[in-house]
């Protein structure tokens, strides 16, 4: 029992001191630790303490599947018409999550299948699985159905770009240290500390920002438009600001130019009227296309379409050759700026919706920190006093261990780059209460052994030995509930579980190994014949 070699004593002190030292940077102001040569480990404050906004965004997977199907329909139509011999198709529909069409000439089945295979790909994707299933029914009807693997892959790609786009848009707002993480198959978690009014952010993230320029179809009859009917090859779109009075307009289906051709967008003002506008710059390919189309269609009108709604429809006065254009509309400075940001960051392939949101004001956060620190301090004081009046010297040893444990937990949390949340503080307080449980177990055992008439040395030895097994078992069950909380919990609950789990691990070390060392050092020096416990 008394055998406690010097190297062990030294290493215990070194380990504890090192872990506690790791907690120091978190107490220093950031401007000091910033100047350190190495990056100092810091504990992050959760949004409930720091104040800020949390958003959970969810992608509309049905919408993605739908637009994918529509793209496929357009591709099929173009492909069948393009090459000789033309393959005439009709009765084309995208209902029921699949594309179906009829061949006018059933003898062309093989040729049609070949062309379909060319556009749907044979074994596309990294997994080599087919993205589309093609089948023929009743000799002339083709059914093209997206495979599960294909949909999954499309969603994956869309989510990856969406996460990137969300990041760019948030960065453009100039907020500090946002966290943007993809979660599960179709969700993105956004956390912006310090943001008080997430309104602008949400409006920005709610825009898919699909920009298209299409030629206006002047042949459309306004009476037909209102009924939603457009001439062949054209489509009806909403146009709330239409000077002609009706909120609709007919445009050609094929786009002249798309948002992907935009390389830059800036909010600015129109020279004559001083109205806010958005200046856009195309890449070279887009600029060329735009030049060709505006040359060929001088005097005609084209529509600027954002998210399937026409924002303005200027007429082409002269060919636009410089690869630049400006978007007019009924903008305010803010909305023009938002659109510019959205265009710069690219379009979202899939619309995102806010499914969960919480915002904490800075005052409540500061209040929570204050009351959290106060509660922890009082809890420590109460427990320490209680332990001391109950176990005397042995209680004092336990108390040293508890105080050290508090800083060790903070140190470990800092190294793990963990986040301290309000429930995390509760976890702290609970850990303080339970860390001494190990010492209670040991000390009670020592008392018992003394009552049984054993010597001081024997009692202490048996106390630590017998209690250690119980402490181990009790902590394992404790850890089980902690791990389950960590796996299933979200946000703040996870923060609680992390503190609890770290506390379980460190408290075994401080409460058992460390106090045992203190007791041994004392017993070895004084050889007490009797102890007050």
């Amino acid at each position: 029992m008394l055998d406690f070699p010097r190297w062990k004593v030294v290493s215990i002190f070194v380990v504890l001191a090192a872990l506690m030292a790791l907690a120091i940077p978190s107490f220093l102001p950031e401007r000091i630790t910033e100047r350190w040569p190495v990056k100092a480990p810091r504990i992050n404050l959760g949004l409930d303490l720091a104040g800020g906004s949390y958003l959970l965004l969810e992608a509309d997977t049905d919408d993605l599947a739908g637009s994918r199907l529509e793209t496929m329909r357009d591709q099929v139509q173009a492909e069948m018409r393009r090459n000789q011999p033309r393959i005439e198709i009709g009765d084309i529909s995208t209902r029921g999550g699949q594309l179906s069409f009829l061949l006018r000439d059933p003898t062309q089945v093989d040729a049609a299948r070949e062309r379909l295979l060319a556009i749907t790909g044979s074994g596309a994707g990294m997994t080599g699985q087919r993205q589309w299933d093609i089948s023929v029914v009743d000799t002339s009807r083709f059914i093209v159905k997206p495979t599960q693997a294909g949909l999954q892959q499309a969603l994956d790609v869309a989510m990856e770009t969406a996460t990137e786009v969300v990041r760019k848009r948030i960065d453009a707002l100039g907020t500090r240290e946002p966290t943007i993480i993809r979660q599960g198959t179709n969700r993105i978690v956004v956390q912006v500390p310090g943001l008080q009014d997430p309104q602008a952010l949400k409006t920005l993230l709610g825009k898919t920002a699909k920009l298209e320029f299409k030629l206006v179809d002047p042949t459309a009859d306004p009476a037909q438009l209102v009924k939603g009917q457009a001439p062949i090859g054209s489509q009806v779109l909403k146009y709330p600001g239409n000077p002609q009075g009706i909120p609709f307009i007919a445009v050609k289906r094929s786009a002249i130019i798309q948002g992907s051709d935009v390389v830059d967008a800036q909010q600015s003002f129109e020279p004559q009227t001083n109205a806010p506008i958005v200046d856009i710059t195309f890449n070279s390919q887009g600029g060329r296309k735009f030049a060709v189309v505006t040359q060929a269609n001088a005097g005609k009108q084209f529509a600027m379409i954002l998210d399937n709604e026409v924002i303005s429809a200027p007429s082409i006065d002269e060919p636009i050759l410089g690869g630049k254009a400006m978007i007019r509309g009924s903008f305010t400075v803010e909305s023009a700026n938002e659109l510019a940001i959205a265009l710069r960051s690219g379009k979202l392939d899939v619309p995102l919706k806010v499914v969960e949101e919480s915002t904490v004001g800075p005052e409540l956060g500061a209040d929570s920190i204050r009351s959290g620190i106060l509660a922890s301090a009082v809890a420590v004081a109460l427990v320490v006093a209680f332990m001391f009046v109950t176990y005397g010297r042995f209680g004092a040893y336990a108390n040293i261990a508890v105080v050290i444990n508090v800083f060790v937990i903070l140190g470990v949390l800092a190294v793990l780059n963990g986040t301290l949340t309000l429930p995390g503080i509760a976890g702290f307080v609970l850990t303080i209460g339970t860390a001494v449980d190990a010492n209670v177990l040991i000390n009670e055992r020592i008392r018992e052994e003394r009552r049984r008439g054993r010597s001081v040395l024997q009692s202490v030895e048996l106390g630590y030995k017998e209690a250690s097994r119980t402490i181990f078992e009790a902590n394992v069950t404790h850890a089980i509930s902690g791990i389950i909380m960590f796996v299933f919990g979200s946000g703040p609950v996870k923060g609680f579980a992390v503190v609890l789990l770290i506390g379980i691990a460190t408290s075994v070390f401080t409460a058992v190994t460390f106090t045992r060392m203190l007791v041994v050092l004392w017993v070895r020096k004084n050889r007490p014949q009797t102890i007050n416990i």
Partner: protein, 321 residues
């Protein structure tokens, strides 16, 4: 220095004899808890119900009636108001908005804030959160699953480390503890939010802790006094561990009391649940789980015990005076 002893030395309470009463009381309380939950229902927070929660802080305690009439006048659905914290803060809960898109929710938050700001100068916004129905269903489902897994995991651990009777009695005691907590929330109508699930899981953890310590002592005494009657072994074990059980519960309760009084209103429900859980957990450790071992027919099997002890390298069982 005279040291404090909350539980005197060598207590000899006959806990096992009281088990009939204890089981009756436990059963009655559990039924009451179930009845309360079924009758009153739980006051689910936005996390589990979906919808919108706004907290507004006022310079002094606001007249709730007036706040209610301001919010009702906005036509944003039926509002549920509650004074929280130091009674300067009002939590306003609103149903999920029609259409459910972010624009609608934003508009409501704005409307409420502006209206309250006009009527009560100095009122400031503390926090708000919105949860869609889909997410709240998920949280409910995940929370339930977490509790279930925790109970199963710990029950399995107890069976693996001890005998099956320990596993069963532990699980029964935990279910009892959780029912009491549920009944408490049904009775007080405190908000049940996601933190309460964390509290529930923590209660499970602590309650188990107590039981494992007693079970461990029972196992030890079974080895030590092989000829002793099971009732005596259990009584002895519970009495021997009683000082520790009481001490530990008290230290945790002390720490929790600090949190309850000083920790701010956001954590109040969580802390209240924990305090209740510790009290019931201690009761069920002393009166329910260990006595249940007799009912379940645990008896010492010397041959098996010795084999198990030797396999673990422990010292052989021996009879001590």
């Amino acid at each position: 220095m005279k040291l404090l002893k909350i539980v005197p030395d060598n207590t000899n309470f006959d806990f096992v004899r009281l088990r009939g009463w204890a089981f009756g009381l436990t059963l009655a309380l559990s039924l009451i808890a179930i009845g309360l939950t079924a009758w009153h229902g739980l006051n689910l927070g936005v996390d589990f119900r979906g919808g919108l929660m706004i907290e507004e802080k006022f310079p002094s305690t606001p007249p709730l009636d007036k706040v209610r009439s301001v919010v009702d006048g906005l036509g944003v659905g039926e509002a549920n108001l509650q004074l929280v914290g130091d009674n300067h803060t009002v939590a306003i809960r609103l149903p999920a908005q029609e259409g459910g898109d972010e624009g609608a929710t934003n508009a409501v938050v704005r409307k409420v804030e502006t209206a309250l700001g006009q009527q009560f100068p100095g009122a400031t916004f503390s926090r708000y959160s919105t949860v869609s129905g889909k997410v709240s269903d998920e949280l409910k489902w995940k929370g339930g699953l977490a509790v279930l897994f925790a109970i199963l995991g710990i029950g399995l651990f107890a069976i693996f480390r001890f005998e099956w009777q320990f596993g069963v009695s532990t699980v029964v005691a935990i279910v009892h503890d959780l029912l009491m907590t549920l009944g408490f929330f049904a009775l007080t109508q405190f908000d049940v939010d996601i933190n309460i699930i964390a509290a529930g899981l923590t209660i499970i953890g602590y309650s188990i802790n107590d039981k494992i310590v007693i079970d461990d002592r029972i196992r030890e005494n079974m080895r030590r006094y092989r000829k002793m009657d099971m009732r005596e072994i259990i009584n002895l074990s519970v009495n021997e561990t009683l000082p520790r059980t009481v001490m530990t519960s008290l230290t945790i309760l002390l720490a929790l009391a600090a949190l309850l009084v000083l920790g701010g209103h956001v954590l109040r429900g969580f802390t209240a649940a924990m305090i209740l859980g510790i009290v019931v957990g201690t009761y069920s450790s002393i009166y329910v789980s260990s006595s249940l071992l007799i009912t379940l027919g645990l008896r010492a099997d010397p041959a098996k015990e010795i084999a198990a002890a030797e396999a673990k390298g422990a010292r052989p069982a021996r009879d001590l005076p």
